[in-house]
Symmetry: C2
Subunit: 288 residues, 2 copies
């Protein structure tokens, strides 16, 4: 395994364990569903937290609460996104979605409580009080109606949009729906360090956009068993995607350019940032 693959795996496991430990002693299906929803993810966001922290001299012990927080936040968004009234998905990370394994009320409440847990965890990051407050504020901004939820709202509106969304509109949608949490994760290090987050922010925006383009490509080229969720839905629904707007080859080329850009912008961190460069390569090479 590459350093990147090892780090990704470790970050995902660490975050899931941290979340499970924080729910110790509770007996309820909501608690079980919360843990289930945080298992089996790629751990990309947790990895970005730990790597950006490492680049700023912050160890995994101090950064782990922020890594677990962003994975809890991400998991909540997936649980609610999969609900029958939203995307109505049966499969997530290769397993039954929460509302299929339990029921809809459990999925609503587990998602709600995962968001709460994200804030409960992030305030325990190992940094100054001022930096902790910055983490809370920026996490809320990235997750709320100006960030992730705003992107989800645009995504729902896009399903019935006529004409379909333009490229600029899709980029805005993506910057909210998936980009905001990825950018938050990749800038945790400088935020905890109370340092400039410009380079990592730039890296994350390019990475996030490449990630979504790769998702649209997987929706065309992947099979559900490997991807771990339903595929072909966007295309069959006639939704505008990066592939429908740029063509398959055009989308791949755009993703490639974004990844090159993401790698270049990390030059201030030198070879120390090699693992983050590997992460950017992974984002467009992944099969799931």
């Amino acid at each position: 395994m590459t350093r990147f693959a090892q780090g990704l795996n470790a970050a995902g496991v660490l975050s899931a364990q941290r979340i499970a430990a924080s729910l110790d002693g509770i007996e309820s299906s909501v608690r079980d569903a919360m843990i289930y929803a945080t298992e089996g993810g790629k751990g990309l966001r947790a990895f970005l937290v730990l790597e950006s922290a490492r680049l700023h001299g912050i160890g995994p012990g101090d950064a782990a609460p922020a890594a677990a927080a962003i994975e809890a936040m991400h998991a909540y968004s997936l649980v609610h996104d999969d609900l029958p009234c939203m995307d109505d998905d049966d499969l997530r990370r290769g397993r039954a979605t929460v509302h299929r394994k339990w029921d809809e009320p459990t999925a609503v409440l587990a998602g709600d409580a995962l968001q709460t847990l994200a804030f409960e965890l992030v305030v325990t990051a190992g940094c100054t009080d001022a930096a902790r407050l910055q983490l809370v504020t920026t996490l809320a901004q990235a997750s709320g109606v100006r960030g992730m939820v705003g992107g989800q709202a645009l995504d729902i509106a896009a399903e019935t949009a006529s004409p379909p969304l333009s490229l600029d509109q899709i980029i805005t949608l993506q910057a909210g729906k998936t980009g905001a949490l990825i950018e938050w994760a990749a800038t945790v290090g400088p935020r905890m360090d109370e340092a400039d987050s410009g380079a990592l922010g730039h890296y994350a925006r390019a990475l996030g956009l490449a990630f979504q383009i790769a998702d649209d490509i997987l929706d065309i080229e992947g099979d559900a068993a490997t991807v771990g969720k339903a595929v072909g839905k966007d295309a069959s629904a006639g939704k505008a995607t990066f592939v429908s707007l740029l063509g398959l080859e055009g989308a791949k080329k755009r993703a490639r350019t974004l990844v090159d850009d993401a790698c270049d912008v990390l030059s201030p961190y030198g070879t120390e940032a090699e693992t983050l460069r590997e992460a950017a390569q992974f984002v467009i090479a992944r099969k799931s």
Copy 2:
């Protein structure tokens, strides 16, 4: 109007305005639904924040972010609680519920974003960084799977519980579902002041329980037009309530005793706490 009624009205209006102002410049149905969901409430939780702050020498300008935060958190819980897969209610605060006025995806996202907004607001309270972090931590604890959501999960399980819940179980359920946010609101003052929150915590627990008993009484004695939401649902569903367990007169007596207790425990604050005592009286006298 009594001092209490004036204060309640002002706190509710102040919080709704603050929430609306924080969403300025966004154009989406989710944003409109968020504002709609925070309008027309009693403002009890915001009032408890402002009054507990006043008792600790903290002005409304410094406490207002915490007041708006708790009203946003409360509104999110109502929007999700009203969803078809949860209580499936059409009426809330005398108006159509969010999923009836808009649709289910908008209600899910508006609730999600209201929770996020609560955390975004609370970190701007006018106190030390350490006190702000305490507000975030305790708000998360009060709202999550050990607090409000935990109580909601018990409430759902109670619908099919056989035998019906005991009095102790109902009290535990209520302490989570409605008690936790009420207690948080009433202890904001000492938390911002980094002072002992014992007396106000005791007051709030008695108040919260009396509030829920009064709700169960309203479910029997009230009419939907006055109460502003459906009534008689619990009784017709055969759910255990304070009224089914204590009888109508027993429930009224218990609520009365709790209110007396809540008033007594405020003695350290002397006559300054008169408005909070009026609030306790209101809780069992209210018609909606």
